[in-house]
């Protein structure tokens, strides 16, 4: 077993590697064992809005944006985040209020227990950026990437449509 200073490139499972991330526009340097998931590393760094529902990429609760695209952070290793821009739900609202997408969730009762909510918000944020003209069917398809046990997801579809529509109206 050798450390990062050795000529051997391999790290042991619990030897820490430095990883430079950008999280919500701020540089974050973490030292993590190579097997640590990106989700765990973000949570350890205080981003607890990244929540874990299944840890195998099905539920989508841990969805973040990586360079603008929605990814499941439980399926990535933290070391794979090196040099990438990460966005979490903290980026959606300025000050202590709600951003338009969050407001649409509130208006449409698209959350109950709130556990899956940050993942859904990031999923839809990515859709709004990449497909601002997405129609109802496409929205439903994207929303069905994630699981919501409280609402079943129907109100999330409504919230996403409202947010997309107000985006298109330039608000």
């Amino acid at each position: 077993m050798t450390g990062s200073g050795s000529p051997h490139p391999w790290l042991g499972p619990d030897e820490a590697a430095p990883v430079a991330l950008t999280v919500n526009g701020t540089a974050l340097e973490v030292r993590v064992p190579p097997r640590r998931t990106l989700a765990d590393a973000l949570r350890d760094a205080g981003c607890t809005s990244v929540r874990l529902g299944c840890e195998h990429g099905v539920c989508g609760t841990c969805t973040i944006l990586l360079d603008g695209s929605a990814v499941r952070s439980c399926l990535m290793l933290a070391v794979q985040g090196q040099g990438h821009h990460i966005e979490t739900v903290e980026s959606l609202a300025g000050g202590d209020g709600l951003g338009p997408l969050q407001q649409a969730f509130d208006d449409n009762d698209a959350l109950q227990c709130g556990f899956c909510t940050p993942g859904f918000l990031m999923l839809i944020e990515s859709l709004m950026r990449s497909e601002p003209g997405a129609g109802e069917e496409r929205v439903r398809e994207v929303v069905s990437s994630n699981l919501c046990r409280c609402t079943g997801g129907g109100p999330v579809v409504a919230a996403a449509q409202q947010a997309l529509a107000s985006n298109r109206d330039g608000r």
Binding site: L92, A93, C113, G152
Partner: protein, 764 residues
């Protein structure tokens, strides 16, 4: 302040907490990080049934970072008790679960050891190095055959796989079946399900040796019961145990019951004198957290040729899994109370066995017992309707108990066990049923079905009607504390994401006439709360809401005393109590005031569901196009939140019928241990749910409220199954609450395979 009094009860106020949750700021139990915190990992049985010959932790203890490991030999002989006196029996008390298995393992996932390390990854590694030596035994898996002499015993010392047989007789069933023109006899099955909240369970425990206080974060549902249990197990005074509820990522009946892990994590924190965190992973959740619903019923139903339902006789087997857990015999008791439903039977006879099998123990999941019973009864009513060549809606309407017959009791007769009478206090079932049909647009659905069928599609419409018993006592206490900012309501209820704090604040704000924003609701920390029983059986708003009303009455009496007037003269206006011309006192001056609402028995409410479905014979896939439900909630405190609860529960029910199933193979190995095999519905599979709220009041409590948090589930299985049966017609019999594609495809393509007479989808 003057002006019109605020009318907040019944107002669709926005839910509290949303802002915080939408900003990702809520603190869930996994978010808690205490200084020096350790991480526990439970080692679980890989076998469904076997003799536990040894558990060797020595190798695990040698792994760097590992601090401790416990097996059953390291802890006292503890059994996790039943928390509901009416769900206990001497027999059930003999098959309770220990926190760690001793001589025998009885289900895959049963805890056999726990390992603690300074890092969760290290704890998980170490758990893999605990050597568990098991001599496997034949598992008990078949419900109806579980008590045959050929079967092994789940608990050898108990001598039987039947914990108890519950019997309820009403009228003379034999005589009624004699006179019947039509008798339908079937064996129906309800499949095994998981509540599966998005947040798995978790706990953090911290023992402070200086004060002798143990604090546990991650409590939910029944915090005071958990506090009492932990104080007994740990040898502490109840007041030296604090159980704190943090944000809860869904409960649905399963989270917050005391489980083996609650005891283990608390014990470890006390012994190691360091904070210990345990976060369940999803695989663990699917084998360790209570399962629900699995039952088999052999039932016959009798009617006359004019379409009068006469009676039914049922022999049922209700799976409790490998142990009776904290909810006792409820998995058998609740179906029994809900089987008769809203119809005017002349007689019935029910024998339900609470049976043990080598599967994860069964507890309650939203709409427990009632969802299963409603499926059984309503499927049978449709089969009787088919036999009579009568419209199923007509048959139901004709047999609903009329309003003038209220209150109505099916008094248990000779041959019944020690059971509470099944009693409906009131309600206009026929009118509510018509409201349901209106909300669903039943006539248009029938037109849709006709058109779809003429286009060659398998289209159907399904209906179910039910009674839900909810709002169980014995009581709930509430403290109201006035201060300069307003009032604080303290109640030992729990939040499951249902918005209880919003509803209770509305009740208090209206009764005291203070602005809604000036009411804070505190329910998190047992150290700060009066005694209470918690959040289950759709009881929180009913019990705590009425306890608020009682506390307000008490405040009125105190204010009258201070003002020197009669209580009837006291009026609460804008944060002060006035007593006619005797002046006024501020709420803060009245002092902390406690109110208690005691409640006997359960409150029955009527509801139903209607859906339209189509079935694709090529792949067996069922699609639910429209789903409508109606539920009598007595009085809606917050119709907006209530709709969310009812529609959300219906979504869970529809998903449960269409896709979800906890299946096991012939060795008792669970086949649905990830969210990729336990398939929960998404927005793409679910219809929008129409909700009709019926407010028929309730005489059982001063505020007139009935339960509402679970009811959306209750009619779902019955309606979906009847819709599928209607769609496939003669093509297949629908005898299971699961209408998964595999079941339906097999049923359509192999006439010897009715839809779910038996086997899990994987074996079909």
């Amino acid at each position: 302040m003057s002006g019109p009094r605020s009318r907040l009860i019944g107002s669709p106020e926005p839910r509290r907490k949303n802002r915080e949750l939408l900003r990702g700021e809520g603190t869930y139990v996994a978010d808690i990080r205490l200084e020096g915190q350790l991480h526990a990992r439970v080692v679980r049985s890989p076998a469904a049934h076997g003799r536990l010959l040894g558990v060797d932790t020595s190798e695990a203890l040698g792994i760097p970072g590992v601090v401790a490991a416990l097996t059953a030999a390291d802890i006292d002989d503890i059994r996790i008790p039943i928390r509901l006196p009416f769900a206990e029996s001497p027999e059930a008390n003999r098959v309770l679960q220990a926190p760690l298995a001793t001589d025998v393992v009885r289900y895959v996932g049963e805890p056999v050891a726990v390992v603690v390390a300074d890092d969760p990854y290290a704890a998980e590694d170490a758990a893999e190095h605990v050597l568990v030596d098991i001599d496997e035994l034949e598992p008990v898996l078949d419900l109806a055959a579980s008590s045959e002499s050929s079967q092994p015993l789940v608990h050898e010392h108990f001598g039987s796989n039947t914990v108890n047989r519950l019997a309820y007789r009403y009228g003379d069933a034999a005589a009624v079946f004699e006179q019947a023109d039509v008798v339908v006899h079937r064996r129906l099955r309800v499949h095994r399900l998981a509540a599966a909240p998005m947040e798995t369970r978790g706990l953090v425990a911290d023992f402070d040796p200086a004060s002798g206080v143990l604090t546990v974060w991650g409590g939910a549902k029944v915090k005071h019961f958990t506090r009492g249990l932990l104080s007994t197990v740990l040898g502490l005074e109840p007041t030296d145990v604090r159980v704190i509820e943090v944000e809860v990522g869904g409960g649905f009946g399963t989270r917050g019951e005391p489980y083996p892990e609650d005891i283990l994590v608390a014990l470890l924190a006390q012994r190691l004198q360091r904070p210990v965190q345990w976060i369940e992973d999803r695989w663990e959740h699917m084998v360790a957290t209570n399962h629900a619903r699995e039952q088999e019923h052999d039932i016959e139903m009798a009617a006359d040729r004019d379409g009068r339902l006469l009676g039914f006789r049922v022999r049922g087997w209700c799976d409790h899994g490998a142990y009776v857990r904290t909810q006792g015999l409820l998995p058998a008791v609740l179906p029994m109370f809900h089987l008769p439903g809203p119809y005017q039977w002349q007689a019935f006879s029910m024998d339900l066995d609470a049976v043990l099998t080598n599967r994860t123990p069964v507890g309650t999941y939203r709409g427990p017992g009632m969802t299963e019973a409603t499926f059984i009864r309503e499927r049978m009513v449709d089969l009787v309707a088919a036999e009579l060549q009568m419209d199923p809606v007509q048959l139901r309407r004709r047999n609903l108990i009329a309003e003038e017959s209220m209150p109505f009791t099916f008094m248990p007769g000779p041959g019944s066990g020690a059971v509470m009478p099944i009693m409906y206090q009131g309600g206009d079932f026929p009118a509510a049923f018509d409201e349901l049909l209106d909300a669903a647009g039943y006539d248009q659905l029938r037109d849709w079905r006709r058109e779809a069928r003429s286009g060659g599609r398998h289209a159907g419409v399904g209906v179910s009607a039910y009674i839900e018993f909810a709002a169980v006592g014995p009581f709930e206490d509430v403290d109201i504390v006035g201060d300069d900012q307003g009032v604080v309501i303290k109640a030992a209820v729990g939040s499951l994401g249902q918005g209880i704090e919003t509803a209770l604040a509305q009740i208090a704000a209206e009764l005291l006439d203070v602005p809604l924003d000036d009411v804070a609701v505190e329910f998190h920390d047992t150290a700060e709360l009066p005694q209470g029983f918690g959040a289950f059986a759709s009881r929180s708003t009913v019990l705590a809401g009425n306890a608020i009303a009682a506390a307000v009455d008490e405040m009125r009496a105190k204010a009258a005393h201070l003002l020197g007037c009669a209580p009837g003269e006291v009026e609460f206006r804008g944060g002060v109590a006035t007593g006619g011309d005797r002046g006024s006192v501020r709420l803060a001056e009245i002092g902390p005031t406690r109110g208690r609402f005691e409640k006997e028995g359960l409150t029955a409410s009527f509801g139903g569901a209607v859906c339209s479905v189509s079935v694709d014979p090529a792949d067996g896939r069922v699609r639910v196009h429209r789903f409508a439900l109606a539920h009598d909630v007595g009085r809606a405190v917050n119709p907006r939140l209530l709709r969310g609860q009812l529609a959300g529960a219906a979504a869970q029910g529809i998903g449960g019928a269409l896709f979800e199933e906890l299946a096991f193979d012939g060795n008792g190995q669970p086949l649905s241990v990830t969210l990729a095999d336990y398939m929960m519905p998404t927005a793409a599979e679910l219809p929008d749910v129409e909700v009709a709220i019926i407010e028929h009041g309730s005489g059982s409590n001063p505020l007139g409220i009935k339960g509402g948090g679970e009811a959306g589930m209750v009619g779902s299985f019955g309606a979906v199954a009847n819709g599928v049966a209607d769609a496939v017609g003669e093509g297949a019999e629908v005898l299971s609450s699961s209408v998964s594609p595999a079941r339906i495809w097999h049923a359509l393509n192999d006439p010897s395979e009715p839809a779910g007479t038996g086997k899990p989808a994987q074996e079909a």
